[in-house]
Symmetry: C2
Subunit: 429 residues, 2 copies
């Protein structure tokens, strides 16, 4: 863990960005390969999907849709205990996300002028779920439950098959609990292409959400515009603001829980207390050795862990705002009082018992969060990502007569005479 002693006057945004940057430039080669895969899917449809699945996943699938009996088998395979936990998590996610539902509205603003907004779910959405080591049933719940709460009438999922041509049972069980029934064993860029363009047997979707490897991320970037996308997720990160009142053992465990995600994950400790920080560092080194994903944590911590030593709480949160972390733990006495100092963070965990993994699984708020500083301008995944609205405008004849000349003046100032003319023809008649 690298130590940074923050100077009296603080650090600038640019300095903090340089210190915490993990942006990996996406290569031109990757773009070319992914473009070629997408073009093949667009042209070749189902046949291309089969060929690409054989090539990349090593399995020959005639039917790439997951059958009902495969889902039933998976539900049995995971067992009742895990199924109960999945259901409890789903219930908590649903309860929280219900608060995000917005209602259509309409209002008279001026005489004869009725304006409003009509909210509707996106009519068909796609969810990508990674396979292999990063096949997380929690992400299935986090990415599909908001779509269900939004009322999306059609949700399709794409996820890569294993060598045996099957999908990880945890993934299928989570989809079952969420109520998703249309699942395809198609991964990588071909999975994104299938959802974006559709094939003979798969209807295209209007928006794709969900994380994935570099191929998936590039494919989402390239289909953006044809469909909507949620975000391009970077490696995970956690930032913990704590002082001597916190337990170094607990803080170390929380930091390591992010580090185990990815060798490029980053953990930031921000503290006004150097002795405390050193105790956390010592605990991290100790605990890491006792945990199963040692190599990943070691690589993450060696490359990207930083401890910022600050003069006071204000300076701590100034650094936080410049990092704009995905996850922020505030482990100071009376943590709520620091909320007004926090401008940029994906999710904020207050107090010593709100360990970040609770939010990953059971609390209810979404765990799909803006990474790499994008919390400065974006929000957790939510119901609003599966809803769009139209504005609705209605002018009476009198209201039209009142505004017509002003619209004409404005349109003519912009040189748009046909705009003015649409008013004039109504004025004349």
């Amino acid at each position: 863990m690298e130590w940074i002693e923050v100077p009296e006057k603080g650090l600038t945004l640019r300095e903090v960005r340089t210190m915490t940057n993990r942006n990996v430039n996406l290569s031109d080669d990757l773009e070319k390969s992914v473009s070629a895969i997408l073009a093949q899917v667009k042209e070749g449809g189902d046949e291309a999907i089969r060929a690409l699945t054989k090539k990349f996943d090593g399995v020959d699938l005639t039917d790439f849709r997951v059958s009902e009996s495969e889902i039933e088998e998976a539900v049995k395979a995971v067992g009742p205990e895990f199924l109960a936990v999945l259901k409890e998590a789903k219930g908590n996610i649903e309860a929280f996300h219900r608060e995000q539902v917005r209602k259509s509205w309409s209002k008279t603003f001026r005489d004869g002028v009725e304006l409003g907004e009509r909210f509707l779910p996106i009519q068909r959405v796609g969810v990508y779920v990674p396979g292999g080591r990063a096949a997380y049933p929690s992400t299935v719940l986090m990415d599909t439950v908001p779509a269900m709460v939004a009322g999306c009438p059609s949700v399709a999922m794409a996820t890569p098959p294993g060598k045996d041509g099957k999908v990880n049972p945890n993934i299928l069980a989570a989809a079952y609990v969420a109520g998703v029934k249309e699942i395809y064993k198609v991964g990588g860029a071909q999975g994104i292409g299938m959802l974006a363009y559709g094939t003979e047997t798969v209807e295209p979707v209007f928006k794709i959400v969900g994380p994935g490897n570099a191929f998936v991320a590039m494919a989402k970037r390239l289909v953006f515009g044809t469909v909507g996308i949620d975000m391009i997720a970077g490696p995970s990160e956690v930032c913990c603001v704590a002082d001597g009142s916190a337990n170094p053992k607990w803080i170390a465990a929380d930091l390591l829980s992010q580090a185990e995600h990815d060798p490029r994950a980053a953990v930031f400790l921000i503290t006004p207390d150097k002795d405390f920080g050193l105790a956390v560092q010592k605990e991290m080194e100790k605990q890491m050795k006792e945990l199963s994903r040692y190599e990943i944590m070691k690589s993450s911590v060696d490359q990207y862990a930083k401890a910022f030593l600050c003069k006071d709480a204000e300076q701590c949160f100034d650094i936080v705002n410049k990092i704009a972390p995905e996850h922020l733990e505030v482990e100071l006495p009376d943590p709520k009082k620091y909320l007004p100092l926090i401008y940029n963070a994906g999710a904020i965990f207050l107090g010593k018992y709100t360990s970040e993994p609770i939010g990953d699984y059971m609390a209810g708020p979404n765990h799909t969060l803006p990474t790499s500083g994008t919390a400065a301008f974006s929000s957790p995944l939510g119901v609003y990502d599966f809803v769009k609205h139209s504005s609705v405008e209605c002018y009476s004849e009198e209201a039209f007569r009142k505004i017509s000349k002003k619209v004409q003046l404005f349109a003519k100032a912009e040189g748009l005479t046909a705009h003015a003319h649409a008013m004039e023809v109504r004025d004349e008649d």
Copy 2:
């Protein structure tokens, strides 16, 4: 105008997309040029901005920030009548957009579990405003008033200088009315680069909104991730559903008001009444010749205007939903009753006096709308584009003890033992 007789069974999404497609593939060459400009700005800062402005705009600017006296001059130059219209428009936009403000909230969901969302304005945003023929003061209001309503503490505008080194006075007057004071005479990809990366004298922003030419659109696409962006706007389009009860002269005028924007603008007439449609077509041909932007309208109508002849209202709106138009006029008797049939549209204009240009200027809802079918998954620009939120989570000790084992079970199912360990250390102590 091309006529399409919709068959009894309707048209598929893919068929409608093919008929209405105007997607122009962005060239690799453009990407290379724009990447080079962005890299130059990132490296060279203010000096690069000056060099690129000299190269592309043909003016040599020492100071590229618009001065207070330039703004004052512009306000004088536009005259009191136009200034009053700008102010009225701004008031209407503000009133509508205030309805979009969301409040932070917090709630106890289960014993000892407090969850909520904290909404905050994006701390610094950039607005791009095109110059030349597409220098629209209405767009300045539409893109900045929502930022002001959101409470963004810092708003910077970039717009290209004319050959005389000055900014169009209409643009400056609109910025003045909106309350924007930080304006730079920097256009094109260099304007986007300046906002995204910052320079010695310009602080970087976190999000960039606003339309622009192909260079600007590509630059926004490339800086997406470093900053947020609103959308990649395509050419404008309007769709009008009308029957014999409407006035063909008015409908023709409305359709032409979109066609005058751009040779790639598209107008769609959807009607169950062929005679009425032919009368509209005749009126369009007649009116076009009498209007100043004939060449643009002619090109748009010849290439992209389509009339869909449908059997009934249901079929009309099925086509609408598959087009997902930016603007939709419903000019049928009792237009409100068709709202439940409309799933995809940027803005909906109801009734014969709600001519679309009213919405462009004076009604209040935003005129920055999703184009090219993206209304199927996105919404008008609004206050929510200038706000982001953090979720806030707080567990009591008791609530932690209740959930800890379930989090551990879930984490272990995903192979994330360090996540489980963060629970265990708290259970043990």
